[in-house]
């Protein structure tokens, strides 16, 4: 079964066509890499899939259900989570609080105005587990302001994982990381079980290629090449628009 199907997706900003008739089919459990030069429309594609911007045309299906008209805030409840290329965290709070907010987003108790959030054992416990998975369990209570860039990247991933998604969209999870940090994040992504389908945008080919089952190459809002890792890397068009040699 396909986890995520995008068909005929279109989006223009004025006269600029950022997404032109994009079709994408990601199988359940697949690891899909989306590559493309700057301005190819990769992040816009993510924003369309998560519903943060509305498409001009086309449809999106999540686990066989049409979600084109479902508002962005409902999509996490249906099993979709994402991380951001530009780190978007709650800078005034602790790492723990950030992950708690992610968990709470899917919990009914998010409307509760009376109970003490810090005393919700099961939520705190779950948040701890998510932080352990990304190797931040030991500094859970540290204020976000006192963390490194690499740690923040991992908080982003922990928040997405905490929501227990079926489809996880990763927008450049390796951007700005040192070689050591990259290796840690790579290990952590490889450890995610196959019941989670992952779609990743990444420029860093040495870490990203290991990850991908299939690769989609976007160029000026269109899918130019799609196929297995070896097919796409060998394709002359990939070399021409992306790898550049």
């Amino acid at each position: 079964m396909s986890a995520l199907t995008v068909s005929g997706l279109r989006k223009s900003f004025g006269g600029l066509h950022v997404t032109k008739n994009v079709n994408l089919n990601v199988e359940s459990g697949e690891r899909r890499l989306i590559i493309g030069p700057n301005g190819a429309g990769k992040t816009t594609l993510f924003n369309l899939i998560t519903g943060e911007i509305a498409a001009d045309g086309g449809s999106i299906q999540l686990l066989g259900k049409d979600i084109t008209q479902v508002p962005a805030r409902r999509r996490p409840h249906l099993g979709m989570a994402r991380t951001y290329q530009i780190i978007t965290l709650f800078a005034q709070d602790s790492i723990m609080h950030n992950v708690l907010l992610a968990l709470l987003g899917l919990s009914r108790s998010r409307w509760n105005p009376l109970m003490d959030l810090g005393r919700q054992r099961h939520l705190v416990e779950e948040a701890h587990q998510a932080l352990e998975r990304v190797g931040l369990g030991h500094i859970a209570d540290r204020p976000l302001a006192q963390t490194s860039y690499g740690e923040r990247r991992r908080v982003e991933i922990a928040m997405a994982l905490a929501q227990n998604p079926k489809v996880l969209l990763l927008d450049e999870p390796f951007a700005g990381l040192s070689i050591d940090e990259r290796r840690d994040v790579q290990k952590l992504l490889l450890a995610i079980p196959r019941d989670v389908t992952m779609v990743m945008i990444e420029h860093n080919m040495d870490v990203a290629l290991d990850f991908a089952d299939r690769i989609t190459l976007l160029h000026f809002g269109e899918v130019i090449v799609e196929g297995t890792r070896t097919e796409v890397v060998a394709d002359p068009r990939t070399r021409e628009v992306y790898l550049g040699h």
Binding site: T50, E52, A72, R73, R74, R75, P76, H77, R82, Y84, T88, L89, F90, A91, Q92, H97, L100, L101, A102, L104, G105, L106, S107, S109, R110, W111, N112, P113, L114, M115, D116, L117, G118, Q120, M159, Q163
Partner: protein, 327 residues
């Protein structure tokens, strides 16, 4: 932490015993005013502080509750009915106010709330058949709950104190709750909150309703205290004043708005007896706060206190325990 508890206990004892040591009814009345303006400021702080939505028309909601109470009493309703219906009217108005203003955030929100406040002010001024226009509405008697007449200054003070204590407790619980955390989240990262599955608009709407409830309660206390309401109460200056209370005391802190309310009321009513240009003094105080403690009086004082404390510790000779860090 213990310093915080000591401050709270001392504060509570001082407030409870205040009628016994405060010289004169006049100062007791000032204390009552501080308390109901504090409730008003606490109400605004939910939106302006925790929600990041600076409402510049909150005096309209305060005034609607006060006018509704006055109008109903004038038309022969009893106190319980008047208060209850006034609250319902104020909450309905708050809902409308929220629906109209929450179309925007940031500067847009400020401008819409400013406009809504001006509209309500215009209604109070011009809709003479209901509001009495410039003459306002007089309230002749204060209620007598459980046979206790609130005509005396100390009885009214204790009423305000109880309402104030309940409001503070309510907010203390709210800000620690999931909904409170979600509200702060929508202030800091609305886009992320949406992507995490929160209904940002609905969170802001319910925060507006809670804010409106406290504002309305303060408005009802106001009209019973002054026994009079006129359009001046819901003018733009009144809205701006309560925003200043919140910011001066410390937005998104529990006691900041209370300190801010005390500051404004004291300068307005006590200092103005000695100083003709009290407005100038208030302005100078605000400028000083913005320069010296931009985060507000309460967080600013806490910061200085901690700084002083650390210096005191640093001045003490360091004692090294074997194998342990310096104490």
């Amino acid at each position: 932490m213990s310093a915080r508890i000591v401050t709270l206990v001392v504060g509570a004892v001082l407030l409870i015993t205040l009628p016994f040591w405060m010289p004169g009814v006049y100062y007791l009345n000032v204390a009552s005013q501080i308390l109901f303006y504090a409730v008003f400021a606490i109400g605004l702080n939910i939106l302006a502080g925790y929600g990041g939505l600076v409402s510049l028309g909150h005096a309209a909601l305060f005034g609607i509750a006060a006018y509704a109470t006055g109008y109903l009493l004038q038309h022969g309703f009893g106190h319980p009915a008047a208060i209850l219906i006034a609250l319902v009217v104020a909450m309905a108005s708050t809902a409308l106010y929220a629906v109209l203003s929450l179309r925007a955030s940031g500067i847009g929100y400020i401008m819409i709330t400013l406009a809504l406040g001006e509209i309500v002010w215009g209604l109070a001024y011009r809709w003479i058949s209901v509001t009495g226009g410039d003459n306002g509405i007089s309230v002749h008697v204060r209620p007598e709950p459980f046979g206790i007449a609130l005509t005396s200054a100390s009885a009214f003070y204790y009423t305000c104190l109880i309402v104030f204590a309940l409001s503070t407790a309510m907010i203390a619980i709210f800000v620690r709750s999931p909904l409170g955390a979600a509200l702060k989240g929508t202030r800091d990262q609305p886009r992320r909150m949406n992507a995490l599955g929160y209904h940002v608009w609905a969170i802001r709407f319910w925060a507006s309703m809670l804010s409106g409830l406290l504002t309305a309660i303060a408005g009802i206390l106001f009209v019973y205290y002054n026994q009079f309401i006129s359009p001046q109460t819901l003018a733009l200056t009144a809205s701006a004043e309560v925003v200043l209370m919140v910011i001066a005391g410390g937005a998104s802190t529990l006691f900041g708005p209370v300190v801010g309310a005390a500051l404004v009321v004291i300068v307005k009513s006590v200092v103005s007896g000695y100083l003709t240009r009290w407005n100038f003094l208030l302005g100078a105080i605000f400028v000083a706060i913005v320069i010296l403690m931009p985060e507000g009086l309460v967080p600013g004082t806490v910061r200085l206190w901690k700084l002083g404390w650390r210096k005191t510790i640093a001045r003490r000779p360091k004692i090294f325990k074997a194998g342990g860090p310096p104490v």
